[in-house]
Symmetry: C2
Subunit: 86 residues, 2 copies
Amino acid sequence: MKFDWTTLIGLIAAICTTSSFLPQVIKILISKRTKDVSLLMYAILTTGLFLWLVYGFILKDFPLILANSISLTLSLCVLLLKIRHG
Amino acid sequence: MKFDWTTLIGLIAAICTTSSFLPQVIKILISKRTKDVSLLMYAILTTGLFLWLVYGFILKDFPLILANSISLTLSLCVLLLKIRHG
């Protein structure tokens, strides 16, 4: 029972942190504005998520690979939109 | 040797993703502008990071607790600044 609850909390946590960048991507696609979004944040975040993905591949850890693939894609979207819109 | 490289990649990844929110906090503190920052993103992200912290406490996993404490604090700062500045 304890294991199930713990796994559930971890799963919801992973879904939240992974999907959280989607509203930011959608917001930018609609407004085409990124002035208040930090370029440095998304540069560091994208680098970090890429390294997490490499880490996941080395460990052959499927949840790490899946979660970080999604996060990296979304973070990269924000980064590219920020570079485009300034 | 492989273990060392893997741990190093994981460590750098953790430092990047954890510290990445700091430039966004500093940017907002200087500009006092959050118009282009997504409220929904930081609401979901803060919830997710809080759940990761709970998960870390249940597993008594010190790296999880440390990394998510820092991320949660920074994410919460952005969320509160977004609520304040709109």
